[in-house]
């Protein structure tokens, strides 16, 4: 099962690792048992994936 980062890469293969480090996208995990989530999505051209897109990204 792919994690959140891997699912987003599947949806937008053009994204790179560094886009998630200091780029327009930031994923976070508050270590509270709820897992990673999209904390920030400020990409200039790509829309933030929908819940449906993420569920179907395999």
């Amino acid at each position: 099962m792919n994690n959140l980062f891997e699912k987003i890469i599947l949806i937008y293969p053009e994204l790179k690792n560094f886009d998630f480090a200091f780029g327009p996208i930031e994923l976070r995990d508050n270590s509270d048992g709820n897992g990673p989530y999209i904390h920030k999505w400020e990409h200039p051209s790509l829309e933030m994936p929908t819940k449906s897109q993420l569920e179907n990204a395999k």
Binding site: N3, F5, N17, A21, E26, D29, D32
Partner: protein, 382 residues
């Protein structure tokens, strides 16, 4: 019997008595002193006793007038001036009222003046051995004994002795000792020629300034404000920085696995110390100080990968979920390798809701934060 009259007409025996002679006998007769001295003596004169008096406002041909002894002295002493009146007894008759100018140059060498009440009298020289009551306004008199109730002179000099009354002088010089257990000096302003010392008790130099009390504690520093006269005017306190919260936390017993490319909060679940119980090491893994001020924070992440490789690592300290400080490394490691990042910063905390957390970021395969990682911070100043 002495002759009381000096007749001016003498008639001879068997001579002729004429009308003119009788007239001359009466009109020209003089009175001798024996007319009075031969009378019975009156040893006690009463004020209502009568005497004959020649009224100066009448003519020589008018009859003498009768008056009383009382009227004689009352009117005569009131209207006349007697330059050599010599009284040897006490003035005890009647009641004296109004002003009596006795003398402007008299010398009183003995006796007692019970009360000198003149508002203009001046004692310009001499010595008053004992002044037991009353008021003197002399600017030159020496008072060698007794008690001065109120000294109001603006130029008087007191060189010694004991003074128990009110000293009210704006220019006077006082060289003695102020020795009163109950008096109040309402306005004591002077230029001291020597030291001012309080050998016993306490002195209050002013009525304004700080409020009495205790300032400062073992954790509070005191700042004093002093004016140009050396008086303490303000007192403020500030807490000593060491009194604020401090903590140090680590990972205990096991490493924390994190997802690649995801900022993951590091679960610092072991408290080395937490002075004010402000660090949550079981649920949110955050430090929420209960005292406002500036804090120094630091974090160390020991990053490791289980297998594969690691290309990039980041360590961040977040305040309220936002970047406060960060460190990164592009060190590439292979399986079993890793890198260590140190991050430190200073942040302002409100002492109620502000909190800080440490997050790790790793681009790699099966990355983890090892138990040697640590997170800490301490209060610097308000």
């Amino acid at each position: 019997m002495a002759i009381k009259f000096n007749r001016s007409q003498t008639f001879a025996t068997n001579g002729t008595v004429t009308a003119a002679g009788l007239h001359n006998l009466i009109d020209g007769t003089d009175i001798y002193q024996a007319l009075i001295t031969d009378q019975p003596s009156l040893t006690a004169v009463a004020p209502e006793d009568s005497i004959l008096i020649a009224d100066a406002s009448l003519t020589a041909g008018d009859a003498p007038r009768q008056t009383t002894v009382s009227n004689l002295f009352d009117d005569a002493l009131t209207g006349g001036t007697y330059t050599n009146l010599n009284l040897t007894g006490a003035l005890t008759f009647g009641t004296a009222t109004g002003n009596r100018t006795v003398s402007t140059s008299a010398t009183i060498t003995t006796g007692t003046i019970p009360s000198l009440t003149s508002s203009t009298a001046s004692i310009t020289i001499g010595t008053i051995p004992t002044l037991t009551a009353g008021t003197t306004t002399s600017t030159a008199a020496n008072i060698t004994n007794g008690t001065i109730q109120t000294l109001t002179s603006s130029t008087a000099t007191i060189t010694g002795g004991t003074f128990g009354g009110l000293l009210n002088s704006s220019t006077g010089t006082f060289s003695g000792a102020i020795n009163s257990t109950s008096g109040t000096i309402s306005n004591f302003s002077t230029t001291l020629a020597g030291d001012f010392s309080i050998s016993q008790g306490t002195g209050t130099l002013g009525t304004t300034g700080v409020t009495s009390g205790t300032y400062g504690t073992s954790s509070v520093a005191v700042t004093l404000g002093v004016d140009s006269k050396g008086r303490i005017t303000t007192v403020s306190t500030s807490e000593i920085s060491s009194s604020g919260p401090a903590f140090l936390a680590t990972r205990s017993t096991s490493d924390q696995s994190i997802n690649s490319s995801v900022y993951t909060k590091i679960q610092f679940n072991n408290e080395v110390f937490d002075t004010n119980s402000c660090f949550d090491n079981s649920t949110n893994y955050r430090f929420t100080p209960n005292k406002s001020g500036y804090y120094y924070f630091f974090a160390t992440s020991v990053n490791n990968i289980g297998s594969g490789s690691q290309t990039y690592t980041i360590l961040k300290i977040y305040k309220n979920g936002n970047d406060l400080s960060g460190a990164e490394s592009s060190f590439t490691a292979t399986s079993g390798g890793g890198s260590t990042l140190h991050c430190f910063t200073i942040g302002s905390m409100n002492g109620t809701t502000d909190y800080v957390e440490a997050f790790a970021y790793n681009i790699g395969t099966n990355p983890s934060v090892q138990q040697r990682s640590s997170f800490g911070g301490y209060f610097i100043r308000p």
